[in-house]
Symmetry: C2
Subunit: 266 residues, 2 copies
DNA sequence: CGATCTGTTGATATCCTTCAATTTTGGTGG
DNA sequence: CCACCAAAATTGAAGGATATCAACAGATCG
């Protein structure tokens, strides 16, 4: 389900296609969401903790992250946002952000008006389901990070996040064969993994010396993905890239049918 | 917004009332969800990693937790589930659980059929919004746990989780004045916080010796909540207990109006 | 009322941090 | 295109927070 046909499509469509076959109509609805792009440079705050959330948006290019600033001045990165990621779809329900979002590399995002979200949910049950799937995937990634921070050593943590980023980029059609652009500094990785930048460096050295990865000029290549996954204890299960259960698919078809019926009536 | 009137209500209604004033009709719709209770003893698995998710459910009594088992045999607890918590509302979209759920103390849950969820979303926009709010709160708690594991020391972690549990129980009408039932062992706390049980013990000793808490016979009392919150760097902001932004409330009223109009037509 | 969890305490080990110095890389203006 | 500056990466040494091991005391439950 990963890669292939989606490669040509927008990252959003490619990503959601991992969940479920989308019709051409569905795909164009999704692509329409990405119409109004805005560009930002690196290290620009898109949202700030305490302020009210910006409109929902999709990442179309580049990379950003959610983070929290601690009283002592250090950071904790919470998640990375890559093309195809949907952010804060229901954010308008909250009065204040509980964390901030900042771009890492130059990034483009497309705002999604509140009404568009409501419309998708009311009139496109299949896409709505895909959005929920996406939200559940995001939650699963947060849980996986908790597992990393709680129970994996430094090597496992670094290995795991590298695997995750590569798999995510394979899923959104943005990677070239186990190699991805990785615009993160070692300090960024440390802030994401609860490690010091120095220690991240030593772990990366170790991976390089054992021919597991190369990482230079912001380009990461996994030379030995099985080994890296083994060090991480990585399974891609939590990304739920395997498609929908049959009865869920049937249920969605049923909902679509009901909706068509309703529309004919008046 | 916390406590008071909700105390008499079901935990679910009490919890969602922190987000938005609910009508009597809304409350009875929610209470109807809790109709079919099932009882479980302590340490009973409600869901198992790899198996297909059970129907969505609400916790009505007791306590459970989500967790992952590591290859070496140790556990990482991911979140605690307490009365009023909604679980896996859209779970039927996934083919396999990526973690397990186990009861901690004897627990009662009420299954929510898939159709009930769809119905809420289509016909009760206000309740649907409350469900989203609840989901966003859950996500925020996961992020906060990441912050704890990544950037807080042992004392901060323990302090933080205690504060969180107390605030959550205040929000669902289950606490008595800074005191709550805490059916967790020190090993459980360690598994949740990425600490050894031994170290959790030492931290608790420290809190007791400094008259910050008492914890005996599974009853936790915060003697000095400000101090504990200070040690934790705890703010309740991320729980979003402060109510809806005005324009979101207006928007929900608008949606309800549209819906009523639609219903009159045929 | 004995068996088994749970909690408590001390001693030792380890992984990771912090600090500090140096090199390398990357970006920017002349 | 080169010189220069700031940011990032690298390396070594020393210290600290927490894990692990082990033994015992207390609580809980059939």
């Amino acid at each position: 389900m990963v890669g292939d046909i989606q490669a040509a499509r927008s990252p959003l469509v490619a990503k959601l296609s991992n969940f479920m076959e989308l019709s051409v109509a569905d795909a164009s609805v999704l692509d329409a969401l990405c119409a109004n792009e805005e560009s930002f440079g690196a290290k620009v705050n898109l949202s700030i903790e305490g302020e009210s959330p910006r409109t929902a948006f999709v990442i179309t290019h580049g990379m950003a992250c959610r983070y929290r600033l601690m009283p002592e001045g250090n950071r904790q990165l919470l998640s990375f946002l890559i093309p195809g990621d949907l952010c804060d779809l229901q954010g308008y329900l909250l009065s204040a952000m509980d964390h901030s979002i900042i771009t890492i590399s130059p990034t483009r995002i497309a705002a999604i008006p509140r009404e568009a979200v409501t419309d998708l949910i009311n009139r496109h049950p299949r896409i709505a389901a895909a959005l929920w799937w996406s939200a559940m995937q995001e939650e699963a990634m947060l849980r996986e990070r908790i597992v990393s921070l709680g129970r994996r050593g430094a090597r496992g943590r670094v290995a795991h996040i590298l695997c995750e980023l590569v798999w995510r980029q394979m899923a959104n059609g943005t990677s070239e064969d186990h190699a991805i652009r990785l615009p993160l500094t070692q300090a960024d990785l440390g802030d994401a993994l609860g490690l010091s930048a120095v220690h991240v460096n030593r772990v990366l050295q170790y991976f390089r010396q054992n021919d597991i990865i190369t990482l230079e000029h912001r380009l990461l290549t996994l030379l030995d993905m099985p080994k890296l996954q083994d060090i991480a204890g990585f399974t891609r299960d939590y990304l739920h890239l395997g498609g929908t259960p049959i009865d869920a698919a049937r249920y969605l078809t049923l909902l679509e049918g009901n909706l068509a019926l309703q529309r004919e009536k008046p």
